[in-house]
């Protein structure tokens, strides 16, 4: 017999300033069922969850709970309706015990005092219902990542939710912790009859845990089916975006004859040895693909001296670079990174001229006494602004007046002006831009590598733009390089599979 649905959404749509984040999503969640939601970055998974938890409000469509139409105005409404959410980031208070954390915000009291005994009993009750064993009386700082995650989930269960949303709960767990954790999640749905929406990037665990799988692509729910009717391949293919990006004309080059600008093997940072074997040639654009948390940004930051490394060694333009190099030294060596978050690349209230000039105060624009020449700065600023087709009023206007695309043009434009620029690392340079602005960035990138004096590391979460622009794509997963693909062998399904796989071995295609 078919169980009744606890949650049902119909035609749920959400737009952000014209961009569709969720497009007419239909989904129903039955009693005691686990549905996994899987999709690429920006596929609309979190927007969907945030509408269920009342953080966002749908533009169109309806949400039904137990067949009754529900208006979820804020997170409190959502909790009252029995929806519990566990966010990807930890929300525990260090220093408090497990039991205290579980009852945080819903403390038991006797008079004006906290009733520690009652809280302990409530936490214990949940623990017994779930049949697990987590220390409840020690400060949570002393617990491991897996135990903390269990406490976090127990906290969500305090209010007796009937629907539990878990956002990438295994992201911070170690290899050995994942198996027991998945059993635990299944236990919640069986023993407490709670329905679960399980959001994940990892296709293996999704197949292990779910009753049904929903695939999100470009804001739409493109596939929902029982696990037994699905294969991993079918899910990956469903995740691929429709071809919306017209291919940019990439000129043919004899890459093999070009010298390597950077060669990396392995480095130790963030307390781990990372196997990051890749190289970039002069005149080449190499794409860096991976899902959120796959370690591309971390790797780029480490290479530029922004992230401390216990062991840092790579070959730059034929010369060995060791760990002591600071960001300034790397810039002097001709390596520069433009940040993923555009605000970290600029001073909003400063003028355009100052935003361009500040990178060159150190040497080019100042004399021996350290005085900055305003005339030289303005000259350089005018050059950068016109060379990069920035749309602006005058160079004294504040940076914040410009659109995202024009800001990015300035950030890239000034970066390539550094002396003897060899390697430009662009971290999500087209993030949040419209198609037209993206094309201008692509054109600029092709122009930078045109004369074969510099290479570009192009970090992006949009596989399509990487495929259309890059000569090779380096795929990251869990902090390591798991695959390097040549342009002639680009295959979306193949690359996505590599990025989704956990603990895969390095292979060359």
């Amino acid at each position: 017999m078919e169980k009744s649905s606890v949650l049902e959404v119909k035609h749920l749509t959400k737009r952000f300033s014209g961009v569709v984040a969720n497009n007419s999503i239909d989904l129903d969640l039955r009693e005691g069922e686990i549905i996994s939601i899987i999709g690429e970055n920006g596929a609309g998974k979190s927007t969907f969850c945030k509408m269920l938890t009342g953080v966002y409000h749908p533009d169109e469509g309806e949400i039904f709970i137990d067949g009754k139409r529900a208006a979820i105005k804020n997170p409190q409404d959502s909790m009252k309706l029995g929806i519990g959410m566990v966010y990807q980031e930890r929300n525990l208070v260090n220093g408090l015990t497990g039991a205290q954390n579980i009852c945080l915000g819903t403390e038991s009291t006797s008079g004006i005092f906290l009733n520690e005994k009652a809280m302990r009993a409530r936490a214990k009750k949940i623990q017994e219902d779930l049949g697990i064993d987590v220390p409840l009386d020690v400060p949570i700082d002393s617990l491991g990542a897996g135990e903390k995650q269990l406490i976090e989930i127990m906290r969500a269960l305090v209010s007796n939710p009937r629907i539990l949303i878990l956002d990438e709960p295994t992201a911070s767990l170690g290899e050995s912790e994942i198996g027991p954790f998945l059993d635990f999640v299944q236990g919640i749905s069986k023993n407490l009859n709670v329905s679960i929406l399980f959001i994940s990037h990892k296709i293996d665990e999704v197949f292990q845990i779910s009753d049904r799988i929903a695939v999100f692509t470009d804001g739409a729910c493109v596939l929902v089916d029982e696990v037994k009717n699905l294969t991993k391949e079918r899910c990956v293919i469903a995740m691929l975006r429709s071809d919306k990006i017209k291919p940019v004309v990439v000129p043919e080059k004899d890459y093999a004859s070009l010298p390597k600008v950077i060669e990396v093997e392995s480095c130790e940072y963030d307390g781990k040895v990372h196997d990051i074997r890749f190289d970039v040639r002069k005149g080449e654009i190499v794409g860096f693909y991976g899902l959120v948390g796959s370690g591309r940004t971390e790797c780029a930051e480490m290479l530029c001296g922004l992230r401390p490394a216990a062991h840092r060694e790579f070959i730059l333009d034929g010369q060995k670079v060791e760990r002591s190099s600071s960001t300034l030294e790397m810039i002097h060596k001709g390596v520069i990174l433009t940040p993923e978050i555009r605000n970290n690349g600029m001073f909003k209230t400063y003028s355009l001229a100052e935003n361009i000039g500040i990178l060159f105060y150190e040497k080019r624009l100042s004399n021996k006494l350290g005085f900055v020449s305003r005339r030289e700065m303005n000259k350089l600023a005018d050059e950068v602004l016109s060379d990069n087709d920035v749309k602006y009023r005058n160079r004294e206007q504040p940076m914040n007046d410009l659109s995202g695309g024009n800001k990015q043009k300035i950030i890239i434009g000034r970066s390539i002006e550094i002396e003897d620029m060899k390697l430009l690392i662009l971290d999500e340079p087209t993030n949040g831009m419209d198609i037209g602005a993206k094309y201008e960035v692509y054109k600029k990138m092709l122009k930078i590598v045109e004369d074969n004096t510099a290479g570009i590391m192009f970090i992006s979460s949009e596989l399509d733009e990487l495929i259309s622009l890059c000569n090779r794509i380096v795929v990251f997963s869990e902090g390591d390089v798991v695959k390097v693909v040549e342009r002639s062998k680009f295959d979306k399904a193949d690359i996505l599979t590599a990025a989704l796989r956990r603990g895969g071995k390095h292979e060359n295609a």
Binding site: S326, N343, F347, Y361
Partner: protein, 328 residues
């Protein structure tokens, strides 16, 4: 037409935002002048200028540290250290030259600046408490060295000791004014024209962006701590000379004064940005108000109420100016 009128209104607002505090200063002066005619006497005006100097110079010091996005609660004790160090050094037999005493004092100030920077930047204690801790420590040492009381008018002090605070250049211009102008000019050039000054401001505005540009926020903040301490030390040298002596507690009131001056300054020229010309105007405004109240025989408690109110008003205005700027 419509557009023109709008832009005219906008530019009026911009003009007032830039120079409003300057006009307000003149207004306050006229107010006290009509209330008490002695206010505009040449002697009183010189008085105002001289007493604006210590606050003004100390204000330059904390302009540096606030520009870098940090704060230094020890500014007052740094002023006292400057004065006490001069008095104590010149009391000894071995330090017999005024110039040597100046050099050693400034080195001591560098040391205090580095100490502030060490506890905040290296150890990672919030600047609010670390500079407070350092200032208590230094104050205790000063009290010990001055035997708990003050040191006044020692016979072995050279003439130069009082000249900096009480002398006149060409017989007209008070020496403290010369020091204030000199410090301001150097600071103006440093903050507006040199790369180091620009870096200090940049770190205060967006230290993350600085990292990507190879500008070390830690180094810039350390420079700011040292500069703040050294400039406050100079203010102390001037004040000690004015008093012809020193006292471990002499800087106690200066921190709040300098802070108010700094905040008023951030309303001049560059709205919401601490800047050198602004600090100068702020120092003038502040001293005029205090001087005017003294001339009008305002009781001591009322002066304190006014000082506190001035600080709060200035803080509110700066906070709203910053909000407006960020919202743009």
């Amino acid at each position: 037409m419509e557009g023109n009128r709008l832009s005219k209104k906008d530019s009026t607002i911009e003009f007032l935002g830039k120079y409003g505090i300057g006009f307000f200063t003149i207004l306050v002066a006229v107010f006290f002048g009509t209330l008490e005619p002695a206010f505009f006497k040449g002697r009183n005006l010189l008085n105002i200028l001289s007493s604006a100097c210590v606050t003004g110079i100390a204000g330059m010091g904390i302009t540096c540290i606030y520009a870098s996005g940090e704060l230094d609660f020890g500014a007052g004790i740094e002023v006292a250290t400057g004065a006490c160090s001069m008095a104590l050094l010149l009391r000894t037999d071995w330090c017999n030259s005024y110039a040597l005493a100046i050099v050693l004092t400034l080195l001591i100030m560098v040391g205090i600046g580095l100490m502030n920077s060490f506890f905040h930047i290296v150890v990672g204690i919030p600047a609010f408490v670390s500079t407070l801790g350092v200032s208590f420590l230094v104050k205790g040492v000063l009290k010990y060295l001055t035997n708990g009381g003050g040191i006044y008018a020692l016979p072995q002090w050279p003439k130069a000791f009082t000249f900096v605070g009480q002398g006149y250049l060409f017989g007209v211009i008070p020496m403290p004014v010369i020091v204030l102008v000199a410090v301001s000019v150097v600071m103006l050039l440093f903050t507006e024209r040199t790369k180091w000054g620009k870096y200090i401001y940049a770190v205060g505005v967006n230290s993350k962006a600085c990292n990507y540009l190879g500008i070390s926020a830690k180094l810039q903040k350390t420079i700011a701590f040292v500069l703040c301490s050294v400039i406050c030390g100079i203010a102390g040298i001037v004040q000690g000379s004015m008093l012809n002596g020193c006292l471990a507690t002499m800087g106690d009131a200066i921190f709040t004064q300098a802070l108010t001056v700094l905040m008023f300054g951030a309303l001049f020229l560059k709205s919401g940005v601490y800047n050198v010309p602004g600090t100068l105007v702020g120092a003038l405004l502040y001293t005029i108000i205090l001087n005017g109240m003294t001339l009008c025989n305002t009781p001591a408690w009322a002066k304190e109420v006014v000082q506190g109110a001035l600080l709060l008003v200035a803080l509110c205005l700066v906070a709203s100016a910053k909000l407006r700027k960020d919202a743009r």
